[in-house]
C-alpha cells in the first residue's frame, strides 16, 4: 500500500468556469502561479456552502487570471490540510506565501522519508 503525501494531480486553470464544474464536496486544494509554484493550500470545510466548488469560485474571483489549482475530495479535510502544510514546509523550508501570512495557530513538524 502506498501512502500519498503530496497532491500531484495536473494543474487546472483557476477560472470561474472551471471552478463551477467542481463537486460541492469537502476537501483540500492548492493554488499555484502560472509556473506551478504553490501559493496557497486551502480547505473546503463544512461551513463552505458548496464545498470545493464555492471555495474555488471565491479564489477565482479574488485572485483574478493567471493562477492554477488542483483539488482532492477528502472527508478528512482538516487533518489532510494540516498534513499538506507540514509536507510543504518540510519540502520547501517554509509555508506557501499566502498561508505564511496567516498560519494556523499550531502547526507540527514532519520529516517525510
Amino acid at each position: 500500500m502506498s501512502i500519498r503525501l503530496r497532491l500531484d494531480k495536473p494543474w487546472r486553470p483557476l477560472t470561474h468556469e472551471e471552478a463551477t464544474r467542481l463537486p460541492g464536496q469537502l476537501g483540500v486544494y492548492q493554488i499555484a502561479d502560472a509556473a506551478g509554484t504553490v501559493l496557497y493550500i486551502g480547505q473546503a470545510g463544512a461551513r463552505a456552502p458548496f464545498g470545493l466548488r464555492s471555495e474555488l469560485q471565491r479564489e477565482a474571483s479574488e485572485r483574478g487570471p493567471g493562477c492554477q489549482f488542483r483539488i482532492e475530495v477528502n472527508m478528512q479535510y482538516r487533518s489532510r490540510w494540516f498534513e499538506l502544510l507540514m509536507v510543504h514546509r518540510a519540502d520547501h523550508g517554509a509555508l506557501p506565501p499566502d498561508n505564511a501570512r496567516n498560519p494556523p495557530p499550531v502547526l507540527g513538524r514532519l520529516s517525510p522519508a
Binding site: I3, L5, G45, A46, R47, M75, Q76, Y77, R78, S79, R80, F82, E83, M86, P105, V106, L107, G108, R109, L110, S111, P112, A113
Partner: protein, 388 residues
Amino acid sequence: MDFEPSSEQQMLIDQVRRYVREEIIPLEAKLDPDASELPPEDFKRLTEKTKAMGLFGIDIPKEFGGPDIDIVTRTMLAIEMAQHRAGLYVPCYGTFGGAGLAQIFEANDDQKERYLYPTLRGEKKAFFGLTEPSGGSDPARAIQTKAERKDNGWVLNGAKIFISNADRAQYGIVFARTDASKGRAGITCFIVDSDTPGFHVRRVVHTLRSSHYATELEFKDCWVSDHQVLGEVNKGFAVANDRLTRQRIPYAAGCIGVAIAAHEMAIEWAKMRTTFGEKLANRQAVQWMLVDNEIDIRTARHFTLEAAEKARRGVPFRTEAAIAKLMASEGGGRVVDRAMQIHGGMGMTKDLPLERWYREMRIRRVGEGPSEVQRMVIAREILGSNLR
C-alpha cells in the same frame, strides 16, 4: 453505593455546565464542525476564566500546584466538560489545562525541572510513544523498538504508530526494549526530546477524526543519555501500565458526557418533531430508544464513578476501570447511534454534532485498550490471574 453529587460537587458541576453552555457552545457554533482548536485570543481569554474559577490544571496534584480536587469530583466534572461538539477528544478545547502525561510525575528531580514543571506551566507539550506497527493492545510483547547501550546512553531504533501530538510536542515518553530475553521485564521508558538527531515524525495517520491526526515515528540511531531514562531500566512497562489504567476513568467520563449531550438532543427532538400527525416522543419505538439511552448512560456513569471512588480510596481499581471504559465506550456509541436514528436525516449532517460524535465514539472502542482487552482484564479477575 450512592454517587449523587454532594452540594460542593454540585456547585462545581453547575459552574462547569454554565461555562460549557455560555462560553464554549456559542463559540463553537462559529468554528468548522471538525475544528479541534480555538482561535488563540479566545483560548487565552477562556484560560484566564478557568484560572479565575479555580479549576485550571484540574488533574495536577496539589503538591504541584493543582486545585486539589479528588478524582470522583474530577470525573463528574469531566462528564460535564465533554458535553459539546469537540468535547469527546478536546473537552472545552483544553481551556482547563492539564497535567500532561501522568508518567512524568515519576521523574527524578533533574527531569522534573527539565520536563514536568515546564509542562505544567504550559511551556512544553509531550507525546506518549507506546504503540508500534506490530500492535498496540499487547505492548509488552509487541514492542520491537530497541534501545542498546552505547557511550553512557542508549541508541534507539524502531518505529511507533498512532502517536498523537508527536509533531507538535517538545518531548515524548518512549518505550523501548532494552532486554529482548525478558518480555515485559525488558522494557525501559525514555524521555526523548523532539529535536534529538535520529528522531523523525514520518507521516500523518488519518483516522475517522478529521479534526485531529495521529503520527508515525521513526527512531534511527537516536542516541539519548542515561539521564533520559524515566524510572528504572527494564521497569518501563509498569510505568506504561499504570498510566493505561488511570487514563481509562477520564476516557470513560468523556464518553458519558457526549452520550448525555446526544441523549438530551434526542429527547428535545422527539418532543418537538411530528410525523404522521404524532410527536416522535409519543411513539413506543422512539420511547424505547430513549429508555435504552437512559439505561446505557446511568450504567456507564455508575461504573465509572465506582472506579473513580476506588482510585480515590487508593485500593486496586484495574478491573473497575476496565468495566467503566467498556461500558462507557460501547454504551456511548449506542446512545449516539440511537440519537442519530431519532433525528433521521438531520442526524447525519454536519449541521449537528451527532455525526462527529458518531465517528469519534467509534474510535473509543479501540483507543486506550479495545473492548476485547477490557474483557480480558475482567476475565482474569473473575477466573483467576494465572489464566493465559
